[in-house]
């Protein structure tokens, strides 16, 4: 493999993908030659256009639906799957053939993510695909698009970085790495999106060293199309140099800008149906689209008063058939500000946390849409996150005090949302006797993650400030106590720590001394837990009991020991070993007491 000419950042988003590149030969120190790659994609049958974003949608057309050859791309006359803008547009009128929200399915532990389950409401003759295949299809489209434009520097040979939400669990990260592998992009490093956003800030702020100083704690609030991702990054001094360490990430919140636009559209749709006008799903989408524009205009101060919208008719009669509707400021305030960003007290926590029966049918959307409450809970829970860092005073007050704030994600194209969040955080800080936040100047909310990821690929090779941090959770397997079975009572479970908090890329955790019995030739499932607050547990720590705040259950994991060399049914004692690969993926393996071999433990197992 020749040495790479580019560092590439791939933002594999819930609603959009983007690719940014840094030309390594033309970059020197902080002088970085970076650009966004325009991705060719079908925009109408027979028409291909290069656009800065690739919508994360796939469409499985009926064989007679489109004229033959009309999906041709510069690199293939007959793509296996239609991906991008046209897929999204066709799916608006034919939802039974549209694959969407793939990223949310990829991190849904209640479904088999390798099984053909998408589209969710598939028409009966649709050949469904799995969340893994769909993710791979998006990456493959990006690879082929890049390769067609750069035949001399194919994507697989470049320094590749793919971003994932900081709150992705190990199984979802592993699946993302596998999707990259299926797309022919082995060797892609995974980077957390809020970190990528901070890298983008570093890249476009040459004097960041004067803006950040040791003792600063940066809160990154990243509200994308489908997920909300919170991270805390501490600024340290190591050997006289500025150093960054990601000290905490929030829990997975399946809630983003699309939910807000849809909530507005539904609220308006209800008003319209009260007037006897019903909208079909295509018109509802057109309305949501209009609501986004209205939300951005009203929340940027660009527009005073109410915002008029029009929903186009399906037929030719545009003037007679369009439905007029007004996005009133009062409705916007009620749905967006009070619904998603309500003024809350610091100690108010998200409501009805935990799993309910409803979540198993579709995507497990956040039960509480109030991002501010999630934020309050996050900062309270992470009170001790900086306790052991040099240069940080031990925790005072009732929550962890950030000193700087970085926004990311398309939602913040509405500046009033930034101001509102900042004001709320400042009021909590003031109540605790802490100084107000400094807001770090963000820009280019659509592309920051891809740009930051490419910049990370560049500094990874060439030196420069890097964010360290390792795993943002400690990981545990559930071990059943050997107690006499009582009918109807589940045997008590203890949690055995197999990977401590902050395990960094390329590091292997000590195998815990405890041995577990595995039945040879059979798959054995373990319950799997993560904790974002138990920073002091080491491999082998055994928890008898814990609160829901401390440990959250992740998807199950599964170990299979081949029957070679032992009689089936034999029980072999094994120890569990964890390591994080250089690419940022957690690997668990079982090591039998006698023997050298390690057996990989599957992380992405459907938990029934």
């Amino acid at each position: 493999m020749s040495s790479p000419g580019y560092a590439i950042g791939l933002d594999l988003g819930t609603t959009h993908c983007a690719l940014s590149s840094v030309d390594l030969d033309l970059s020197e120190g902080e002088d970085v030659a970076q650009s966004m790659f325009r991705v060719p994609q079908s925009v109408a049958p027979g028409e291909v256009e290069a656009r800065p974003l690739l919508p994360s949608f796939a469409y499985i057309p009926h064989e007679r639906e489109l004229p033959p050859g009309s999906l041709a791309l510069p690199w293939t006359a007959n793509p296996a799957l239609l991906v991008g803008g046209l897929a999204r547009d066709l799916g608006a009128k034919t939802p039974g053939r549209l694959v969407s929200s793939v990223k949310s399915w990829l991190c849904h532990p209640k479904v088999d993510r390798r099984a053909p389950i998408l589209p969710v409401d598939a028409s009966e003759d649709v050949a469904c695909i799995s969340p893994l295949e769909a993710s791979a299809a998006y990456l493959k489209h990006l690879r082929q698009a890049w390769d067609a434009a750069h035949p001399e520097a194919t994507l697989a040979e470049q320094e590749l970085v793919i971003t994932v939400p900081a709150s992705f669990d190990p199984a979802a990260r592993e699946l993302t790495a596998q999707a990259a592998l299926q797309a022919g992009l082995a060797g892609a490093t995974l980077l957390e999106e809020p970190q990528a956003a901070l890298y983008a800030f570093l890249a476009r702020t040459p004097d960041f060293r004067t803006q950040l100083s040791p003792g600063d704690l940066i809160l990154v609030v990243d509200v994308g199309g489908g997920t909300t991702d919170l991270s805390l990054i501490a600024v340290l001094e190591e050997e006289g140099q500025l150093a960054l360490r990601r000290v905490a990430v929030g829990e997975h919140i399946l809630l983003g800008g699309d939910n807000m636009d849809l909530a507005l559209a539904h609220a308006l749709g209800v008003e319209l149906s009260a007037q006897g006008k019903t909208l079909d799903s295509w018109q509802l989408r057109a309305l949501a689209h209009g609501c986004r524009a209205g939300k951005e205009a009203l929340l940027s101060g660009a527009h005073e008063g109410d915002y008029p919208l029009a929903i186009p008719s399906r037929g030719r009669k545009l003037i007679g058939g369009s439905v007029r509707v007004t996005l009133r400021r009062e409705l916007l305030d009620r749905v967006i500000l009070e619904g998603f960003f309500p003024d809350v007290e610091l100690h108010s926590h998200p409501q009805s946390r935990g799993r309910g029966a409803l979540t198993e049918l579709g995507l497990p959307y956040a039960r509480d849409p109030a991002i501010t409450r999630h934020l309050a809970a996050f900062l309270s829970r992470q009170l001790d996150a900086t306790a052991e860092l040099p240069g940080f005073e031990s925790a005072r007050g009732t929550f962890l005090h950030p000193t700087a704030l970085l926004f990311n994600g398309g939602v913040f194209k509405a500046p009033r949302l930034m101001q509102r969040l900042t004001r709320m955080l400042d009021s909590w800080l003031e109540a605790d006797g802490a100084p107000p936040l400094r807001v770090l100047e963000g820009a280019d909310l659509d592309h920051a993650v891809a740009r930051g990821a490419a910049y990370y690929g560049y500094v990874k090779r060439g030196g420069g400030v890097r964010i360290r941090g390792g795993t943002a959770q400690a990981y545990y397997v559930g071990v059943e106590e050997s107690a006499p079975a009582i009918p109807g009572v589940e045997p008590p479970v203890r949690a055995l720590c197999v990977a401590p908090f902050g395990l960094e890329e390329g590091m292997t955790a000590d195998a815990p001394p405890q041995e577990l019995g595995l039945v040879v030739g059979e798959s054995v499932r373990f319950r799997f837990f993560g904790s974002s607050v138990r920073r002091d547990d080491v491999s082998g720590s055994l928890l008898e009991r814990w609160t829901e705040e401390e440990l959250s259950e992740l998807g199950a994991i599964e170990a299979t020991l081949p029957a070679e060399g032992a009689a089936p049914g034999d029980v072999v004692p094994v120890r569990l070993s964890a390591r994080v690969t250089e690419l940022g993926v957690l690997e668990l393996s079982a090591i039998p007491e006698h023997g050298e071999q390690r057996f990989t433990i599957e992380l992405d197992v459907r938990s029934d």
Binding site: V43, G46, E49, R51, G69, S70, P74, R316, K317, I319
Partner: protein
């Protein structure tokens, strides 16, 4: 300035000379013969006008229709509707057509000054990009006030077309099954 026409005797001399030379010199005879042909059609003026490609125009129209319902709007009889109804449809057209244009063209004003600002045009100013109007006389440099900042397309991203694609279908008929 051509010479006066030859006299009778001069013409007689020429005729004899031509007679004998035509007998002996085939090339000369050929040129005499060519003299008798009707004058050829005058050469057409060099072609300074180009055909504009039809497909690009169709593509732009399709994009405006797809995103902004442009044809639907223009083909409808507006006289039957109230201003409020036309206004509602105009929002669809404005929002969508702007998106279509933004996706295809990268547009920037030609002059960065505020409209109304005093402008000095140097002697070598580009007459295609800047048009002077009003009291136009004398030689540049010209001094005047900017009444329209102009628009220039910096980049065009027209979709590429698949082989066999019929660009004349601006919007397919749609049948809901």
């Amino acid at each position: 300035m051509s010479a006066p026409p030859p006299s009778f005797f001069a013409r007689l001399g020429l005729a004899f000379a031509a007679f004998f030379r035509a007998l002996g010199d085939a090339d000369y005879a050929a040129s005499l013969r060519d003299l008798r042909l009707p004058a050829p059609e005058p050469e057409p003026e060099p072609d300074t006008l180009r055909e504009a490609p039809e497909e690009a125009a169709l593509q732009l129209l399709a994009a405006l229709q797809r995103k902004g319902r442009f044809l639907d709007f223009l083909e409808e009889d507006v006289s039957a509707f109230s201003d409020a109804e036309i206004g509602a449809a105009a929002r669809v057209v404005h929002e969508g057509a702007k998106r279509a244009i933004d996706e295809i063209f990268e547009v920037a004003p030609i002059r960065s000054e505020e409209e109304g600002a005093e402008i000095l045009l140097e002697a070598d100013y580009d007459a295609q990009a800047v048009r002077v109007v009003g009291d136009v006389r004398g030689d540049p440099p010209f001094r005047g006030s900017l009444s329209h900042a102009g628009w220039r397309v910096l980049e065009t991203h027209l979709p590429k077309l698949a082989e066999g694609h019929d660009a004349r279908v601006i919007a397919p008929a749609e049948v809901e099954l």
